[in-house]
Symmetry: C2
Subunit: 335 residues, 2 copies
């Protein structure tokens, strides 16, 4: 049974293991610094007719990959799927999992959806309501550009603070039995509004939320940052990462670049010209599933605080002058 | 601690009370058959500049109303908010709750979001991770028409199978302590694809999902429909309601019109010219919060199966030929 700890953090009492993880990414992601960890990539969008259908297919294939590579679990063994993405009405997730025949609970936390799904999923497993839960998210560079920014055919110039939406899907299988790193506690985030209205600077929109959730987590648990081997935010990119560090420092929380990483900075290298770095629900999902999960499994790290970050905005809200609302959800994962 | 029961149903073992409910609706809803139960309505959209901002304000004011009318709870006592709506990137919910300062977990289940939030919320309370949880959803006729259909200024004709999106927001406060009807078990729904592509007939798109969840719930629990005093779907409207009854009958599950109701049929009367009835996340949310919750509190009914229904589709998915995917989540509420 879970127990509230401090203001917002919840400690899980029963074991919730991440028994497996899977991801499929696009070619650009494969060519990045983590390329060796991505054991499957797609260069032709599965030959689908549209980018949206391609994104849904990334979800479908990642779900299938996750189950096929996990021994002792078949499709009927999945009690529940928690999923979401950035597309309007979260269509990639719904289409992607529709053939599963398993209960589906859709989430929307923008790019924070991966840890949101792990947070809600782990509480469900801890509470006894499910034995095996799949958490899955996705994003696609082209479907995101089309929906949030400009038609790709325009070839619009990108500003240095912009980020490159990761093409890919990542998924984890949480279970009350089996082996693998455990989700030991979770900190759901509050919405932070710093009146950032520049939709080309999502990092600035999300950094206060990341800092807020990290500080709340540390205060609630009485831990210092170096309790963890790594603290990793979702997709702040280089600008948001620096801002988050600055905000933490203002509050006397000091983290080194060795300890504190960002998935958006890990997934691409500067020569790939992604400006401030990677973004999208698929960023944290694929970096965790392929890379961080492996570090945990191989015991190269033993304590990870994963904090996916979301920019809650839409093209309509931006045009109506609404600020970008940041939210970040943290899950502590330990061997 | 929750216990899995049958294929998909989860029985809650600890008390999860709905200690209060609140809603605010628009003028047309106030003029409907349930008008006397809506103790607050807005005729001028809070004088907001845009429909989207008005919808967010409905959420904000409903949240405030819920807390102000619940004794023994202040804002800091809310452990978590589960919310969602139909707008792209669920902006009404995010903007509506941003001032709360409480952890926010966004959901997207289209019009099934109200019972989705009650399902996930009740599991969180049952599991010990939260003592008090707010579940809140909204919809707005004008913002939905603008986003999903045609500019209102066109004055487009409506087909008889179309539905009228409810303007309003509804919210409930779940708590492990206190009094009020209890959520005793929940059945998360699977996605049903019957290849319905007519976006003017959402009832047909959702009816198979409603029937599927109701049948799964009954099979999992070993109950017959008349275990309940009322079985109420979210927003199938008159066409979807008839279809759902037909599908149930095909599977030897017989429900009378006295037992089985639909929120979309309850909220408007035929003279209001809403074609097949009401729809939107705000439909089930407001009908439950204002009317069904009162019936339970006054013990006019003692066992309710509430099954909100969602049509997972977007204008883009529809244009790309994707079918409307139905999903329905059930919560059993008992005195």
């Amino acid at each position: 049974m879970a127990v509230k700890c401090g203001n917002n953090t919840i400690m899980l009492e029963r074991p919730v293991h991440i028994i497996n993880a899977a991801c499929i990414v696009g070619q650009k992601e494969k060519e990045g610094p983590l390329g060796q960890y991505f054991d499957r990539f797609e260069e032709d969008d599965f030959n689908m007719d549209t980018w949206e259908q391609a994104e849904a297919r990334f979800v479908e294939e990642t779900y299938r990959k996750l189950l096929s590579e996990t021994s002792g679990i078949n499709e009927a063994g999945v009690d529940c799927i928690f999923g979401g993405d950035l597309l309007n009405q979260c269509m990639a997730s719904a289409i992607g999992v529709k053939k599963s025949g398993r209960p589906y609970l859709g989430l929307f936390g923008a790019c924070s959806t991966m840890t949101e799904s792990m947070l809600v999923g782990s509480l469900t497993v801890d509470g006894g309501g499910a034995k095996n839960v799949v958490c899955i998210t996705s994003s696609h560079f082209c479907s995101a550009e089309k929906q949030f920014r400009f038609p790709l055919e325009l070839g619009s110039q990108r500003v240095p603070s912009s980020q490159w939406t990761v093409t890919g899907s990542g998924a984890v299988l949480l279970s009350s039995e089996g082996e693998g790193p455990r989700i030991t506690c979770v900190t759901p985030g509050v919405i932070c509004d710093y009146n950032v209205t520049d939709t080309n600077n999502m990092g600035a929109g999300m950094a206060p939320a990341a800092a807020s959730t990290i500080m709340t987590h540390l205060a609630d648990t009485g831990r210092s940052p170096d309790y963890y081997d790594m603290v990793v935010t979702g997709d702040l990119g280089s600008i948001g990462h620096a801002l988050c560090k600055d905000i933490l420092k203002l509050h006397d929380v000091n983290v080194t670049d060795g300890l504190y990483k960002d998935c958006g900075m890990l997934i691409f290298k500067p020569e790939q010209e992604t400006c401030s770095g990677g973004s999208g629900c698929g960023c944290c999902a694929s970096v965790f599933s392929a890379y961080l999960y492996r570090l945990l499994k191989e015991k190269k790290i033993n304590k990870l605080l994963l904090v996916a970050t979301g920019a809650l905005m839409s093209p309509v809200s931006a045009k109506q002058g609404e600020p970008i609302l940041g939210v970040a959800h943290a899950v502590a994962i330990e061997n």
